[in-house]
Subunit: 318 residues, 2 copies
């Protein structure tokens, strides 16, 4: 950037929150604004809220550019969200163009977890790391890859859809249309669904209480709270999820032989309760040389990884 | 190279054959020498045969360097074969050093399928392609990755072990020590084992005849021959294998969003009988944007891909 006083907007559009930040070139956050995504209202309403979030942040500020990430397969040629299994109606939405036209500023887009990988690589736990895989365990599972120091996005910009590795060839239908995807076993949605299934089968657990008595409000977070307070079933659910997290990590370790795997997304809040057993699976089942080489850690930038990655993308492009 | 008249040795050590070639900098093969690996005799005997193969090829020839690939996880720091599921006894064997000392020439090593990817990228079907995954469907399954035009080998040199993606979380033991690996479903060994299992169960098939009446001599190749001659069970075995090949390809397409997947190894000889149904699975189950972007084709350099990749590695390093 020619003028270092200019700031950059980074926006991360997730399944539940729109997180918009204003940062300088060092990744220091100057202001922030977040809104509920309310994805079920469809793309038009969500885009309206994205524009509103950016407008409120940038009013009267000199902006160098806007970076934006969405949970979904990215189409680099068209700056579009090609497909998002967890955002109803998002199919070939040219979000980058819409935002560029709205604000008349240089605007760049990418998949949210690819940006989280970039964010961690530039400002967080991945600084100086050559080979890094970011695993976003949220409502679904997304991924981002740094290969030999560069963000890897593939031919169309849609690489890193690690949540849709088939880990159970006999598995059930996934929201993406395939079957047996990792996301069906190790995402926030999977944890909540399995908890509800057990509660409906009459298994005694305190999870319902943590969801305010409403089975429809059970989330991975309520399961985690119940587990922390000693609920046996909740604990078992998290152990089982950790095992499946580990299975997917084995695949990533054998395929990428990375220095570092960073775990982000909502499930990362479970910390070592989730991570330690998952790492154990990697040690047992991945090739020894790659299992020894890899560190599996919690992402450092937390909920801001994607938005800071969007800032890093703008810095990289302008 | 300073002297273009110098030639390069490329050696590919596979589970069944040692393929050594002598080539110029354009990848033109000037001479070749192959030997049975006889892997069951252990590393010392195999290394003896590798040295013999190279000696016979290089006698009286001006050699610039030697490149060598082995079917197994590669340890870049030590130029060693860290572990090879299909080569008994290969555990931390410093092959590169042994060959360098034997011949006193610049010597470089890598995993065989990583070299096949490099070979196809430099001299074969992958020339000019930025993002390429080579899938070696042999006795086991190996892989090699070109990412953004560069060979990707990961942190220790052991990346690309795609055969050990878990595709069946409830699957049976793999030679690598894990369970449910892709290699258990879609390799030459898997085809032969499933054929034998059915024959032992008394299923009527002509496969035995193609193995000279000896059930112990059934290979993927004999199954293919029987299928070509109209044997129903053989045909069904190949269809089922093709389905499982497709499942692994879905994962690679979602993870890498590559321009090109090249299918090599012994099973590639089955051609469209294997490839067409596998591609169908990719079209049905991978993310649409990535499924549309990828071409899935047979490797072009055939059995020489690894050895030519070893030549390319020497050209890259010296």
């Amino acid at each position: 950037m020619s003028d270092t006083k200019q700031l950059i907007v980074g926006v991360d559009v997730g399944g539940s929150k729109i997180n918009a930040i204003l940062a300088d070139a060092g990744g220091n956050i100057q202001a922030r604004n977040s809104k509920d995504t309310l994805a079920y209202e469809g793309p038009e309403a969500v885009i309206g809220r994205i524009i509103e979030a950016i407008s409120q942040l940038t009013s009267g500020v000199d902006i160098a550019g806007i970076g934006i990430g969405v949970a979904g397969a990215h189409d680099a040629d068209r700056g579009a969200v090609a497909f998002s299994p967890n955002m109803p109606g998002w199919h070939n939405i040219p979000l980058c163009d819409i935002i560029r036209r709205e604000f008349g500023l240089p605007t760049f887009s990418q998949n949210d977890c690819t940006l989280a990988a970039l964010g961690e690589h530039r400002f967080g736990a991945g600084v100086g790391v050559d080979n890094l895989v970011y695993v976003g365990l949220g409502t679904g599972i997304g991924g981002g890859v740094i290969a030999d120091g560069q963000v890897y996005t593939g031919t169309s910009g849609a690489a890193g859809e690690i949540g849709h590795m088939i880990i159970d060839v006999n598995g059930s239908l996934c929201k993406c249309g395939s079957y047996g995807c990792w996301e069906n076993f190790a995402s926030g949605r999977a944890v909540a669904q399995e908890a509800v299934r057990r509660m409906e089968a009459g298994v005694p657990t305190a999870i319902r209480r943590y969801a305010g008595g409403d089975i429809n409000k059970v989330t991975a977070q309520t399961v985690f709270q119940a587990a922390q307070d000693g609920d046996y079933i909740a604990h078992e659910l998290i152990s089982s999820t950790a095992y499946y997290v580990g299975i997917g990590l084995v695949n990533l370790v054998n395929i990428f032989n990375p220095d570092l795997i960073l775990i982000g997304g909502g499930l990362a809040k479970m910390g070592s309760l989730l991570l330690d057993p998952a790492i154990e699976v990697v040690r047992e089942r991945a090739f020894e040389i790659s299992a020894k080489a890899v560190r599996v850690e919690l992402a450092q930038l937390g909920d801001d990884a994607g938005a800071l990655g969007a800032v890093a993308l703008v810095l990289q492009e302008i």
